[in-house]
Structure formats: C-alpha cells, structure tokens
Symmetry: C2
Subunit: 133 residues, 2 copies
C-alpha cells in the first residue's frame, strides 16, 4: 500500500483538478502536502477524504467559506480540539448551531422539493401514457 501520492493521483481520485487542490491549500481548507527535498508535494488518503467531504458539502450549497467554518468537524482531531481556547469554543458552538438551524431548514425544503418532483414525474408519466394509447 503506497500511502503517499502526488497531486495528479490525489486530484483524479477526488474527482477534481490539481488546480482545485492547490486552491484549497491556499485557502487552508486542506493541509499542504509535504515535500521530500525536491519540489514535489506528497499527500495521504486523509487529504483524499477531506476533498471528498468538501465536494459533498459543496453539493449541499455550502460555500468554501462556510465549509471552512465547519471544517473543525472533519479536519481537526480531538487533540487539536483541546488546544482551542474557551472563548473560541463558544464561537465555534455558535457557528455550529447556526449551521444546524439552516440545515434543518434545508431538510424541510428538500423534502418539499422532492415531493414536488415526485408528483410531477408521476404527472408527466401519465401524460405520456395517455398519448401512447
């Protein structure tokens, strides 16, 4: 198991371009791949997971900035969390709660949208059936 990969493999397996990987690095969304003396950067499967999670959250309509808000959930381990100061913890909690609220709203809206889709799919299926006989 070759646990290290270069940016080409990483980006391909994540379904993004190298440019996107570098862009996310520049935003601090993912850790910078370590270099080995030469100029090249090497990444692990962890980074791959991060990229996939980012893609998922993006599909939910979160901006990269919002993803950075909640990235503490996915991209910091427990050790790091203990280092966070008490004031920051309150701030984080507040942000998480805000995201929870908007997530709840989105779930409701999505449910409604899904019902609308289902109803209309049925409706158009019927229209086509009627046309065929």
């Amino acid at each position: 198991m070759t646990d290290f990969m270069r940016i080409g493999e990483l980006s391909e397996r994540a379904g993004v371009t190298p440019r996107t990987v570098r862009y996310y690095e520049s935003l601090g969304l993912i850790p910078r791949g370590e270099r080995e003396g030469n100029g090249q950067h090497y990444y692990t499967k962890e980074t791959l997971k991060h990229l996939r999670k980012i893609d998922q959250l993006k599909s939910l309509g979160l901006s990269l900035e919002e993803i950075r808000d909640v990235s503490i959930i996915y991209f910091n381990d427990t050790n790091d969390k203990n280092v966070i100061k008490i004031k920051a913890k309150h701030k984080i909690l507040e942000i998480l709660r805000q995201h929870l609220a908007s997530t709840n709203q989105k779930m409701d809206a999505l449910q409604e949208f899904r019902n609308d889709l289902l109803a209309n799919i049925e409706y158009f299926e019927q229209l086509i059936m009627d046309h065929q006989k």
Copy 2:
C-alpha cells in the same frame, strides 16, 4: 386588496433587490411584469411566490439554470403543460428524474452532515461544561 405592485414592493417583499428581479426576468425565470402604457411594470402575487420559491431552491444549492430546468413544476400551469410536445415531455421527465436522483443523494448527505453537527455540538458543549467546573 391591491393585487398589483411595482418592482419596488415586489422585490422588497421577496427579500431581493430590483436588480435581481430584472435579472431573473432577463433569464426567463419569472414572467415579465406587464406594463400599462407608461414604461412601468406591474407584478402580481404569483410572481412573488415564484421569487420565494427560487430563493428556496437556490439555498438548496441549485443554480439558476437548474432552477429553470425544474421551473415547469412551479411556473407553468396545467394548461401550458398540455401544449408541450410529446418529445419534450420525455426530455422533461428525464431531467426531473435526474434531479430526483441528486435530491435523494443530497438528502442522505444532509442527514449525515446534520448528525455530524449534532455530535460536535454535543462535544463542544461538554468541553465547555468541563471547563466551567
């Protein structure tokens, strides 16, 4: 009940700017407000509903183009639908099914995200409690 309003009232009640209304008109996302001889446009409550629905779908991560895809659900009445040709009906059905599939995926992802949020909110609440005693 003054059923007609101008762009100022419409946009304010929809929580958008006049610019946004005109932009959506230019994309064919909402019907152009009718004019009364003079230059001004008048809108109905229907258009207000459309704007609110668009806003909701946008919050779900749909682009304006995707919203136009599914706008037949909200913005065409049954009469109009009967005018659509059979070939177009198949096309619409295909698009609706694609949106259903991605909506299902989003629901799952959203559910997962919500759980992550909840777990972390609990976790940070605990951290703060520990700190207080």
